[in-house]
Symmetry: C2
Subunit: 182 residues, 2 copies
């Protein structure tokens, strides 16, 4: 289980290119994002916000889908993948009150969430962090990495996801685009 800690402020490995509030309350604007190892002292270090999550276990992925993903999904940290996006989202109480089979049906059979992600392989790498059980302001933090020539492909991917039935349950979403500084 990998922990993801993202600090927004005026220093970090990533320069913030844009922050768009898709739905709900915005996050304070920052110029840089720091991918950190610890949440300790983030406030005294001058950061404006701290978001965290854990990779946890898969919630909807079947054995067949998991085998396909493990074989085909691109890795993070490719040297050419100098663009990234951090997209924190929160879903509604109506979503979380649904039974497991209802959420699975909306997620994949109706919204094709996993299938859509694979259409951007191998250009777009992705890691999902779960945050809801941690009492965080967002339920999920999704981290994407891609090369500059795949910006349009990435735009199509997030556009397709936002048009799904699943996204009707998203009540807060911030889309943060980033350039790698090293």
């Amino acid at each position: 289980m990998i922990k993801g800690i993202f600090l927004g402020g005026h220093q970090g490995q990533w320069r913030v290119e844009s922050m768009q509030t898709q739905r709900g309350e915005p996050l304070p604007a920052v110029s840089h994002l720091h991918s950190a190892d610890t949440t300790e002292n983030w406030q005294s270090a001058g950061f404006a916000w701290c978001l965290q999550g854990v990779t946890s276990s898969v919630r909807y992925t079947t054995q067949t889908e998991q085998a396909f993903l493990q074989q085909h999904q691109p890795p993070l940290h490719r040297p050419e993948a100098t663009r990234a996006a951090l997209i924190p989202i929160r879903k509604s109480a109506a979503w979380w009150d649904l039974a497991q089979d209802e959420r699975r049906a909306i997620f994949e059979e109706q919204s094709h969430h996993i299938a859509l992600g694979t259409t951007a392989f191998p250009a777009v790498a992705r890691r999902l962090f779960h945050a809801r059980d941690l009492g965080e302001p967002f339920d999920f933090l999704t981290w994407f990495e891609y090369a500059p020539e795949h910006v349009t492909l990435f735009e199509e991917l997030v556009g397709a996801l936002r048009a799904t039935r699943e996204w009707q349950y998203v009540e807060r979403e911030i889309d943060i685009r980033l350039h790698f500084l090293g």
Copy 2:
């Protein structure tokens, strides 16, 4: 989402009748369990350990099962339910590496976890707290409440669960039995 905080020590609303390590590393022995509202200062208050979790969302329950449970499951805090059990468990990495449909099949189609629980209705009330994403030493804390005359029924329930295929993935389990002091 309800938070469950359980402090083991020498004071609390529940007297510890027994603590049995079913598998894995034991927890330090205590005489009392305190169901708390906060994790703050539990060490300076003299408690030996603190376990916490959140009710979160259902992971395996289908719509049909959820409707049945909502209609038939007994509530907590019944005045006659003066016996309780807190059973923290941790499952193996092999369990968490399984895909969602594989875990569901072992959990219910093969092990009848939900169905077994309903055989103890309305005698045994239950609340599940998820702890894995919180970085806790256990993945789940399950809390059960029942009247003294249903001790045998409860024993049969936990015995049946421990005999399932699902339980082969349990690598740590402590069974803590409690009497209500008020």
